[in-house]
């Protein structure tokens, strides 16, 4: 599920844009003015950037813009069956207004949103908290075995979510799990993770396992960018390592934390692969456990594209709103000093 870390330095990219390219245009214009027949050459110069952008733009239109538009269109349509529903003219697509949206906001959907919010509430703070802790410890001069730890904690990033779910799924399965073997041997009554009460923790653990290392490295990297003189000065002033960590390092990595937090949040709302993989091992996961699983069921099992599209639009809007609100809340603190 890992949230790919994104622009921790979005502001700096702005300054990185070179101001020079105007020169090429000027030269092209001058050239065309000097030699009359060079008009053709001028035209190619002007068209070149568009030609070079064409692959990206075409792919963007075909696989991002068109699907988005199509989803919105579908969400306002429904299929009307006439008569017995036989024959070519019997199924007609009609404008549905907001009826798909009204239908989409049913108890099942709200329950799935509730489950996923709980999942995110467990996963994101735990994952970021541990990622920050590990990053600070890696950066601390008092830690040992840092190379080994960094490598091993990052390693699950290379394991697909499906495979991670599969491995943890077996570790949750009492018949094959070493944990249950140990608790049985000790005569303890271990909680069943693959039960409807605890499965959300099981899923959060899979997300944590896959994501903590990546986020740790993102935070660790932004720590490394800080010149160490600051810490030296703080130490000479009598700061303890813990004070340095809390008063200097945490504020410095705050922008990185915000970005990793935001993208983890978005990723949790879209959870699909992990619960889908775990389903064969437990009865605790319904086909509508997460909102995207419900979209999948509506589209492919029920053949109700209008409902699937409306649900998709709702998920997208909620995701975007949450991102904006989240950024608004933390923006001042995180990026205030950059402007």
């Amino acid at each position: 599920m890992t949230a790919t870390a994104r622009p921790s330095g979005s502001a700096s990219s702005r300054t990185g844009v070179p101001r020079t390219p105007d020169a090429s245009l000027e030269r092209a214009e001058l050239g065309s003015a000097r030699r009359r027949p060079a008009g053709h050459r001028f035209r190619t110069r002007v068209l070149t950037p568009y030609a070079m952008l064409a692959p990206a733009i075409l792919l963007f239109l075909a696989f991002m813009a068109a699907p988005i538009v199509y989803t919105v269109v579908l969400s306002f349509q429904r299929v009307q069956v006439q008569g017995l529903g036989l024959g070519s003219g019997a199924r007609k697509t009609v404008f549905a207004g907001f009826s798909n949206y009204v239908a989409a906001l049913d108890a099942e959907f709200l329950a799935s949103v509730g489950r996923v919010l709980l999942y995110g509430l467990i996963l994101v703070p735990t994952m970021l908290g541990l990622a920050l802790l590990f990053a600070l410890l890696l950066d601390s001069k008092r830690s040992r075995a840092t190379r080994f730890s960094r490598l091993v904690i990052f390693l699950p990033y290379a394991v697909p979510g499906v495979i991670a779910s599969l491995l943890w799924g077996f570790l949750y399965l009492p018949a094959v799990s070493p944990f249950y073997f140990v608790t049985d041997a000790l005569g303890l009554d271990a909680p069943t993770i693959l039960s409807s009460d605890l499965i959300v923790f099981g899923l959060a653990n899979i997300g944590l396992w896959g994501g903590v290392g990546f986020n740790m490295v993102v935070i660790y990297t932004s720590l490394k960018a800080v010149p160490s003189d600051i810490y030296e000065a703080a130490r000479l002033d009598g700061c303890s390592e813990i004070q340095i960590a809390l008063r200097i390092k945490v504020p410095i990595v705050f922008p990185a934390l915000v970005m990793t937090g935001l993208f983890s949040l978005i990723a949790t709302l879209q959870v699909f692969a992990e619960p889908t993989t775990l389903r064969p091992l437990t009865n605790a996961l319904s086909t509508t456990w997460s909102p995207l699983m419900k979209v999948y069921r509506d589209a492919f099992t029920r053949d109700d594209l209008g409902a699937a599209a409306a649900t998709s639009v709702i998920i997208a809007i909620v995701t975007l709103t949450m991102s904006f609100v989240f950024l608004r809340i933390v923006q001042k603190r995180a990026f205030g000093q950059e402007d």
Binding site: S13, M52, P160, L167, S228
Partner: protein
Amino acid sequence: MTTTASTRTRVTAPRRSSAGSSATTLRPSPIATGILIIGALYCLIPVVWVVAASTKSAGELFSSFTLLPSTHLFDNLAQLSAYRDGIFWRWMLNSAIYAGVGAIASTWVSALAGYVLAKFTFPGKAAVFSILLTGVLVPGVILAIPQYLLLAQLGLTNSYLAVLLPQIISPYAIYLARIYAAAAVPTDVVEAARTEGAKEFTIFNRIALPMMLPGLVTILLFQFVAVWNNFMLPYIMLGNDTLFPVTVGLSGLLNQGASAPSMYTLVIAGALVSVLPLVLLFLLLQRFWRVDLAAGAVKA
């Protein structure tokens, strides 16, 4: 918290003033190291388990302590290879094709677009860039179903292209490529080549691309992992299991295991084998896994 007091007294104690020495005078902390080791062990649990479990026969899997290795690793691998005429290896090959071709195409398209956005001025540039950038925020998996419906109208679903094409466009990779291009390709060099009369595509392929290469390797690796790990898109697009990537294939195998637990040994051996290529790629190309680059932290 008890360490706070002791550290403070030590730091304020008279010390050599040379800047580098203070680091070495800090005593190693068993607590700090211990927490890191616990974190590392947590990350190793499933790995250790799958290595041990893949050496067991179906009977042993359910009867013996699972972290105790047995001797049936090669039996299990042979069984896995024999399953439906070696369809597992077909899945592995498919994953390699999807991830390899997809990552290369995606990196090239992103590099080209990023370079143009960084080094050219043209009407509509700001608009193109901001539209592409909003794509970063669009939840990718939500697009999978409409992508399926659109491709179905072209009759392209259930094919390699159905999984490859939608994953080539990556707004985030374009965003990164733009930052790399701005930082790594000096405008003077591009200008000089232009004055020499070089064609723009030649300048990109011969001059800019090599200069951007270190950053592009990072994009390539992250795109490779993203495609290799993708589940929902191929799960939706493909019906024919000879086209499955290994993630979808193993997930289906586990599904069958629910009714026939003997399949579990196949799934476990398959999980082990499927993880190896990426772990190897990861360990061998360690210096290219530049998360800092992927996070956009390039000093422009």
